[in-house]
Symmetry: C2
Subunit: 336 residues, 2 copies
């Protein structure tokens, strides 16, 4: 994939549109040359306006960096289901988009370049593989408000029959657990998410709860150790579940909790190591060795969005796309 | 795939080698024209001898059926890990093969035709898609001594980084459960397997325990209803776990327990329906509708082995194999 990007020698903008901000990057030949964050306006019109503003702002910085160059494509990651067709987004509740909205077509019309729209975890999986230089199959496991994974298998994003691939947060975890917003009881994401830490370890004055928890645990606070280890065990179940179903080579821990950094990785690997010590079967699979951290700075999603745009645009051009990471499959939409 | 088979107009033998018997089929242009079962001799030499005997016996019936035709390829499904290279089989404990054994190369040498070796659940997935005429992504979920799935995604078998794809039987299910042979506690297969039914509902005089259990439950035996529903709930977890990770369109219930037939399907669909009634998220995924039964007679594995042989052989011929169901990937080995 990196070779494809380099040989394209092309300028592309990637946007990761979240509930409160847009994180945008300007990629030239696969390298980030500029990045910025923008406040999000909600609703379909607001999102189109915000994205247009972000692309214009990043394009405006291009002249000084690469004189004469122009943005050739735009990739957008959104938290929601992306439907076949014109980059149509549905169920992006955090963006105030509930009814299906042809976001890709509207943006392409506004910007005059091909626009590819993709689910945010899927672009994060693409970006993580690129930024970390990983070749094998990969899951980007987001530990944030909820828990879910973007899957990159055999060089392609795995979306599944109804877009539910990687929704590991709603696998049953604790039969006696509390009710989940999804209606089930004891879902994994009630234990392995950032929200779970927020609830179990309320943090004082603005310190993110995961950072506070892991610091207290490192300092020997017995309660913090218990909460941390219970959390790490739930994350270990997510890793094990991904291994025993899709058997990805790499599980990249992302989302807000991953900002804890190395202590998170250590705790999750230790939880997996305990399982491997008990089970020779699991030991042969090397679960602990599969896990790594997303690079700090949360840049993988916008970078992945930019990569999705490159491949999406190329896929629209000719028959050569089948070998690429994002062939013309139902839920990626590139519109010119 | 069906078109490929028909256009090949070719004779192929498929063998499903199990711990006690070999089930062999003779396929002409994709249709079974003969089948037979043979007792298995254990150990590598025994398996090679048994397979050779089976192929010879089926080939001997060819002359009367299709005068002048010859067996062009042989496909073999085995319960174990199939390693890259010459169809090497490892960890096939039920066959008395522990150390890696180049089964494919040895059989090809003995038979003088290309031989493709593949894991038995993988060939069952191929066979189930063919026999049931299913187009979309599929899991063949075997409910037998253990619980595991063969996965057919985007027309290819999914094996995973270390051959663990579909090993859903060793996902944690009950935190307070008994110890599993794998070393973990409360694995799903302790609740969703035929062995689990054998243990919970010992059957009198030779009647298979699952048949006895489902009959007793249908007759209103309160204990039987409880055991049946607990079993069906565990199978439902397997289906849900496969949906929320790979999101296959079809889950085909196979293995010994599937011989129960329709009452099994009804119980599992009811268990999934209860989950859908509780969770609008699960309801949108249509879990219950994804489940179906393997065709009775357990023919899907040998038929799938034969199909694997056709594709494996064609893959060895030229560059056209990438679009086929079994491209040249590490754990399929075809040797001439």
């Amino acid at each position: 994939m990196r070779g494809d990007v380099a040989s394209a020698r092309e300028v592309v903008v990637g946007l990761d549109i979240g509930g409160t901000k847009v994180h945008g990057v300007l990629l030239v030949d696969g390298a980030v040359v500029a990045e910025d964050r923008f406040a999000v306006r909600h609703g379909a019109d607001g999102v189109v306006a915000t994205a247009t503003l972000a692309v214009d702002a990043l394009a405006g910085r291009l002249a000084a960096l690469v004189p004469g160059a122009e943005v050739g494509a735009v990739g957008v990651g959104v938290p929601g289901l992306v439907l076949p067709g014109a980059g149509t987004v549905a169920h992006a509740v955090n963006l105030g988009i509930v009814e299906p909205e042809p976001l890709g077509a509207r943006l392409a019309g506004a910007l005059g370049v091909p626009v590819t729209v993709e689910n945010d975890l899927n672009v994060a999986a693409l970006g993580a593989a690129h930024v970390l230089g990983l070749e094998g199959d990969l899951a980007f496991l987001a530990l944030g408000t909820g828990v879910a994974a973007g899957l990159l298998l055999d060089g392609r994003l795995r979306r599944g029959h109804r877009g539910a691939a990687g929704e590991v947060g709603h696998v049953p975890y604790a039969a006696d657990g509390p009710r989940c917003a999804c209606g089930q009881v004891g879902c994994l994401e009630l234990y392995a998410s950032g929200s779970a830490i927020d609830a179990a370890w309320p943090s004082p004055d603005g310190v993110p709860a995961p950072a506070h928890l892991f610091r207290a645990a490192a300092a020997g606070d017995v309660d913090a150790v218990r909460v941390r280890d219970r959390f790490a065990d739930a994350v270990a179940t997510a890793v094990q579940t991904l291994t025993l179903t899709v058997d990805v080579e790499h599980v990249v821990l992302g989302g807000g909790v991953s900002e804890v950094g190395e202590p998170l990785l250590v705790a999750v690997r230790r939880a997996l190591g305990r399982r491997e010590a008990a089970s020779s079967f699991l030991a042969t699979l090397g679960l602990a060795d599969r896990v790594r951290l997303a690079p700090p700075g949360a840049r993988v999603a916008p970078v992945g969005a930019a990569l999705a745009a490159l491949v999406g645009r190329d896929a629209g051009r000719g028959p050569g796309h089948a070998a690429g990471p994002l062939p013309a499959r139902p839920t990626t939409a590139t519109v010119a």
